[in-house]
């Protein structure tokens, strides 16, 4: 990590230059209006400084002036809003082919698990030039995953998933910070993001991969907790479930994403699939955060097994 003094952060993701461009626009607007007001005040204060005790004559309010300094700022903010909204929508829509990495925050460390089961603590190795999506949850309080060089940040919440995506552009090491105050060692809940050339990354990944992938471990849990008993025949099938659209008993539809899968495991009664009885037990408090992540990894691995659209 470069520890030298600087006034502007590095740009190391695809989104960073775009955020910076909007930032510079706003800096320019700010500088313009600040100077305008400063200059106006200094000029007026000198030009009309008090020379006698005589009262100055009244000046009439000018409606055109009032309206123009109401409407022009409004139009400027409209431009800002449009620009920022377009960028934000891009930032909140991960590409389909993103590589998915699980992140668990706890007081006061980051636990990271790659798709092949490789694990890291307070470090995240990623390849350059490939979109990465983080699926994050917390084991205790609210944390926030913040990579300044990528201009991305997302709160990490207990009891639900949140996600964040980016694509690194420059190999190197960057700061990882926890940005949501989380207790005693909040300021030590930091780490490194290591961006590597794809070939180097593959080599690194192969070197640290464990024997079993999270999906495999999840499959074992699926059997241990007796999920097979129902989700084999009687209950909704898991094959091809992830990413499909599920019809619910109350008539609504929902896309089976990670958040849905999580909720259906810990609190199945919340969203019951049409045509089924709400008989599944809730697993809230029964499964650790890691176990939930693995079960979901397993269910997601069944997407390719069955393929195509499934409608349980």
């Amino acid at each position: 990590m470069d520890q030298g003094f600087r006034l502007f952060p590095k740009e190391a993701s695809t989104i960073a230059p775009q955020v910076d461009l909007l930032y510079f626009f706003l800096v320019a607007v700010t500088a313009f209006f600040t100077l305008l007001i400063f200059v106006a005040i200094v000029y007026l204060a000198l030009r009309y400084r008090r020379k006698s005790e005589a009262m100055p004559p009244e000046t009439k309010t000018d409606l055109r002036l009032e309206l123009s300094w109401t409407i022009i700022p409004f139009l400027i903010t409209l431009v800002m809003f449009g620009w920022s909204t377009r960028l934000f929508l891009k930032m909140s829509t991960p590409p389909k082919n993103a590589m998915e990495i699980h992140v668990i925050g706890k007081q006061w460390m980051w636990k990271i698990e790659h798709p092949n089961g490789a694990r890291e603590i307070n470090e995240l190795h990623i390849p350059v030039g490939r979109p990465v999506r983080l699926i994050m949850s917390s084991q205790d309080v609210i944390h926030s995953f913040f990579i300044p060089a990528f201009r991305v940040k997302q709160d990490v919440l207990p009891g639900r998933f949140s996600s964040l995506w980016f694509e690194a552009t420059t190999p190197g090491e960057y700061h990882l910070f926890c940005a949501e105050y989380c207790g005693t060692d909040h300021s030590r809940m930091t780490g490194r993001i290591v961006v590597m050339e794809p070939a180097k990354f593959e080599a690194w990944l192969a070197g640290v991969a464990p024997d079993e992938t999270p999906a495999k471990q999840g499959e074992k849990l699926f059997t241990t907790y007796g999920c097979m008993a129902c989700h084999g025949e009687r209950g909704p099938t898991m094959a091809g479930l992830y990413g499909s659209t599920v019809s619910l008993a109350d008539g609504s539809k929902v896309v089976a994403d990670e958040q849905y899968l999580r909720e259906s495991i810990v609190n199945p009664a919340a969203k019951v699939v049409a045509g089924f009885e709400p008989i599944m037990p809730a697993f809230q408090g029964q499964l650790s955060e890691e176990q939930i992540v693995r079960l979901i990894a397993y269910i997601k691995s069944l997407r390719t097994a069955a393929g195509g659209e499934a409608n349980p």
Binding site: N267, A269, P281, Q284, G285
Partner: protein
């Protein structure tokens, strides 16, 4: 929560406002008001503003309650089912009657009928105390049935059939957790309401004593009027609490 006008003029109020013409101040007028009309308007508007703040105070709890009731409909219904609807309804009747007595008290104050004013205030107070007594009895029964959040609830060995789920199963544990959340709101909301009742009763006790001493006249009776508004508000809160807490259906 009454308004701020002293029925008696204290030292602060007696000072002459000006050197010249002494003004014969009408009875009950505080020094900083011009006349009783202005004083009455200020008191009334003040009370309504206070009630607006109260609405937001209760509103936030109602909102939180609604969020969780929407999230956990079955546990909320099951827990609500174990409350005593008949006690709730009885208490509603008691409270409505006391509000009616308060209306009569305000009327008596405005017509300058001191004996009726004291009488109706006492009736209002007695009915309010009856409400609190019944509420206390209900709390007692609830706690006896282990319907109180915390250890009393969590460590209890529930008999089969008390809850519509198997409380030993994982789903049952989850269900109880959410039913407990209902009880949390039941106690918070009724306790805040009861606190408002106690405050109201204290105020009305003072009013009754002052009324007995003849401090209120047909012209000056703002405190009685304002206490009436407050009492009706507390009543209306209860009218909302009754269906929200006692009549939850799936």
């Amino acid at each position: 929560m009454t308004t701020d006008h002293p029925a008696t003029l204290d030292a602060h109020d007696k000072g002459p406002h000006d050197s010249g013409q002494p003004r014969p101040a009408p009875y009950g007028l505080a020094h900083h008001f011009e006349d009783l009309g202005q004083q009455h308007e200020a008191a009334t508007l003040g009370m309504w503003a206070f009630l607006a703040t109260e609405i937001l105070f209760f509103g936030a709890v109602f909102l939180a309650y609604s969020v969780y009731r929407h999230a956990y409909p079955q546990p909320f219904a099951a827990a609500s089912h174990h409350l005593y609807l008949w006690i709730g309804v009885t208490n509603t009747a008691v409270l409505l009657t006391s509000s009616f007595a308060m209306v009569l008290a305000v009327h008596a104050a405005k017509t300058g009928n001191r004996r009726q004013l004291v009488g109706f205030l006492v009736i209002t107070i007695l009915l309010g105390m009856a409400f609190l007594g019944i509420k206390g009895f209900e709390y007692y029964k609830d706690v006896q049935e282990h319907l109180f959040p915390g250890k009393i609830f969590n460590l209890h060995d529930w008999e089969a059939g008390f809850w519509p789920v198997d409380v030993k199963s994982a789903a049952g544990i989850e269900f109880l957790r959410h039913a407990e959340l209902f009880l949390v709101f039941y106690y918070i909301m009724t306790a805040i309401h009861a606190t408002h009742m106690v405050v109201g009763l204290a105020i009305m006790g003072i009013l009754a004593v002052k009324a007995w001493r003849g401090r209120y006249t047909a012209e000056y009776n703002d405190p009685v009027d304002m206490a009436g508004l407050y009492w009706h508000f507390v009543d209306i809160v209860w009218i909302f609490l009754l269906p929200l807490l006692y009549m939850v259906r799936n």
